[in-house]
């Protein structure tokens, strides 16, 4: 397996270690937290050259997380993507169900090294919160998770999971009641309890050293995937696609490919931003496409903000991408043109969510479904013969309720005899069997589309790629 490698790579783009990525990054936080950020940087710099730390991280990756994660073929889904060969990096199969565990185990080890007994974290979809609560249980640490009240509703199952794991979950009731406000509240806790507590930041945003630290702990995704794709196909992929909220799974899978820029063979790096109702509507989270440079949560990066610098609330069906900022390294990669950032709407993501489920039996997180929608679009552009690596950053169990509402699978369902009262007045029935179900989209045409890939798939034509 690929050994966790936290050493400094030599490539032009891969060697960047902050605090600045171009003009992005830095430390825009109260002076009170500077000693804690310095301490974290120092402990981390010592850890990355300590064989014991690396060995422990490796042991946990193998025995606890279940690394390396698989690289799966997706032959039926590929047929919907213009025949391009889609390869899925299966971070959804990690313990706790997403890539978040990679970062959390590393930061929990650092917490223990600092002698701190309590961890705090923010969470949007709950994936980072669940991962942090899990690590806290594993290492015997007190754990407090901040989560926007709106997200505790959208992700009620994950709130229960965190509580069952022994964590305290604090719903944040001010601001937009989503991820950005959970981060504000976690910082307030940290500045108050910094002596006893470590803030396990969940993404590649925030003040230095978080963008570098979290990226380094997620680099394993791309390092494994690059070797797996080379081994499987004998070449590098044409493109690597990942969803981007704060951007940790994307940085994790992009990083190994940053310097793969040979003339004529550049590996395209594509980040899929949540476009909500559409990037041209007021309800989206397309930070690179629609944001401007500013400071939010401790770093200079792209921010959704008004002309006074007030943060604009983001919107996405996916709680994990519902964030008006983005990590500074992504902002830099966008600025220099090394990575592309494309908006994916709620509707496109939900189609991809259903299509991957129906064609491959893999139910992705709605976050990851944004990347899959991006791959469908890109595959049609690149066509047959192309190889597209997609990061399936998490699994979709937590999203079944949201998807059921979206596709109208719950209300009026004869199976449970109940009506949850969510259907809009006068809406057309969208159920696959004519039952009076109501959602925002219809599952039936997606099922038809999925069925079109059946014959060829069962004929076993994977050999062609």
């Amino acid at each position: 397996m690929t050994v966790p490698d936290l050493s400094r790579p030599s490539g032009d783009l891969r060697s960047q270690t902050g605090p600045y990525f171009g003009s992005f990054g830095g430390r825009f936080l109260p002076e009170a937290l500077v000693p804690a950020l310095d301490e974290l940087s120092e402990v981390y710099e010592k850890a990355v050259v300590d064989p014991e730390f690396i060995a422990e991280l490796q042991r946990l990756a193998e025995e606890y997380t279940g690394r390396p994660s698989l690289l799966s073929e997706a032959p039926r889904f590929s047929k919907l993507a213009g025949g391009a060969r889609i390869l899925l990096k299966r971070e959804d199969l990690n313990h706790t169900g997403s890539h978040k565990i990679n970062n959390v185990l590393g930061q929990a080890l650092l917490t223990v090294r600092m002698g701190k007994k309590r961890v705090i974290a923010e969470t949007g979809a709950g994936q980072h919160g669940v991962a942090t609560a899990t690590a806290a249980a594993l290492f015997g640490l007190e754990c407090t998770i901040y989560m926007g009240e709106e997200d505790t509703r959208r992700q009620a199952l994950n709130v229960a999971r965190m509580r069952l794991l022994g964590a305290e979950v604090v719903p944040v009731t001010h601001g937009s009641r989503t991820l950005k406000d959970a981060i504000n509240e976690a910082f307030r806790d940290w500045v108050t309890n910094v002596e006893s507590s470590n803030y396990i930041f969940g993404t590649v945003a925030g003040p230095h050293p978080f963008p570098t630290l979290v990226r380094d702990l997620q680099r394993i995704i791309g390092e494994e995937a690059r070797a797996q794709v080379l081994d499987r196909t004998g070449r590098l992929p044409d493109a690597v696609v990942a969803c981007v909220g704060g951007g940790s799974n994307a940085m994790g899978i992009f990083h190994a490919f940053l310097d793969d820029t040979e003339e004529g063979g550049t590996v395209r790096l594509i980040g899929c931003e949540a476009a909500g109702d559409g990037a041209d509507t007021p309800r989206h989270a397309a930070t690179v496409n629609r944001g401007t440079p500013g400071v939010l949560h401790g770093a200079r990066s792209f921010v959704l903000q008004d002309e006074d610098g007030q943060t604009i609330e983001s919107h996405s069906i996916s709680a994990g991408l519902d964030y008006p900022g983005i990590g500074p390294e992504h902002a830099w990669l966008a600025e220099i043109g090394r990575a592309e950032y494309v908006p994916i709407s709620d509707a496109e993501a939900m189609d991809a969510f259903a299509l991957l489920s129906m064609t491959e039996g893999i139910m992705p997180a709605i976050e990851s479904a944004h990347a899959l929608a991006g791959a469908l679009r890109l595959g049609k552009e690149l066509g047959e013969g192309a190889v597209i690596l997609v990061n399936v950053s998490g699994r979709g169990d937590k999203d079944v309720h949201t998807a059921s509402e979206w596709f109208g699978l719950l209300d009026g369902d004869p199976a449970d005899g109940s009506d949850d009262g969510t259907e809009p007045a006068g809406a057309d029935a969208t159920g696959t069997d004519g039952a009076p179900r109501h959602g925002r989209a219809d599952l039936a045409p997606l099922l038809e589309l999925a069925r079109t890939t059946m014959d060829a798939a069962t004929a076993g034509t994977e050999e062609d790629a």
Binding site: E31, K180, N184, T192, G294, V295, L296
Partner: protein, 279 residues
């Protein structure tokens, strides 16, 4: 242009009177722009030597629930960055130094140099920056020099000697010493460790050190005023305004005046009370 009063001038004056300065914080735009200006005038009329005008921001990580609530309400009421300049204009020339306290992104959005220019032209003394450390402040160091503005950076109980020296070296006016690790809000007592922080900050070269976070009563002001050059009070004033608003008498500033009077009498007696004499 109004006659500009800088923070150090005020602190020289209060030092000559052998007392700490009383510094009052209010968010611009709560309950509305005119109301916040009236409230600040009341503070000046009732003993505040300096005013800190908070520029409401959507993501105030250093503020507790009281100031958050007022700032959120001010933003919902449509307050704009430009309004803080208007408020400074209307408050300068009344014998108090007028500072602005702002998170960094609104200043970036305004433009650092334009903000400094307009603040100075309005008669402002300077800017307090809770989430800007000197290491990231290149543009602001230049603009504040160019326009003659006080740069008030913060120190905290967690600050080690090298950080104290670094902050002091880049500060003009006064150093803002946070009395506790935490966010703004009223507290039952001011940490006994605060005096040590003020001493360490002076040892790092600071001419003036003012203490904020958690001071809300005359008794606390008397305690802190015994050793600090200034006592900064925010949440106690804002809480009084919120209460008046909740009781439907938002325009009645008598309760605010009472709180200010109590705090002023605290700094007046700080160095005169038995045992309160400065060492």
């Amino acid at each position: 242009m109004s006659e500009r009063l800088r923070a150090a001038q005020v602190l020289d004056r209060t030092r000559a009177e052998d007392r700490a300065a009383l510094i009052g914080y209010l968010p611009v735009g709560y309950a509305d722009l005119a109301g916040s200006i009236d409230a600040a005038r009341t503070l000046i009329d009732h003993g505040a030597d300096m005013i800190e005008l908070g520029l409401p921001y959507s993501d105030p990580v250093m503020d507790g629930p009281v100031i958050q609530r007022a700032a959120t309400s001010a933003l919902a009421g449509g307050i704009r960055n430009r309004d803080v300049i208007t408020a400074v204009e209307q408050l300068s020339g009344r014998g108090a130094a007028i500072l602005v306290m702002s998170y960094w992104n609104p200043v970036l959005a305004y433009g650092v140099d334009p903000f400094a220019r307009d603040l100075a032209a309005a008669g402002g003394a300077g800017l307090i920056t809770p989430d800007l450390i000197p290491d990231e402040a290149g543009e602001w160091l230049e603009a504040s020099e160019a326009h003659g503005l006080d740069r008030v950076f913060l120190v905290a109980p967690s600050s080690p000697p090298d950080r104290l020296q670094h902050v002091v070296a880049h500060t003009t006016g006064f150093v803002y010493a946070a009395s506790t690790m935490g966010v703004t809000g009223t507290r039952a007592s001011v940490s006994a460790a605060t005096e040590g922080l003020v001493e360490r900050t002076r040892a790092a070269g600071a001419a003036n050190v003012c203490v904020g976070l958690g001071v809300s009563t005359g008794a606390q002001a008397a305690e802190v005023g015994a050793y600090a050059d200034g006592v900064i009070v925010g949440s106690a004033f804002v809480r009084t305004l919120l209460q008046a608003q909740d009781e439907g008498c938002g325009g009645d500033l008598r309760a605010l005046a009472d709180v200010a009077d109590d705090l002023r009498s605290g700094v007046e007696r700080a160095r005169r009370a038995p045992g309160g004499a400065r060492a």
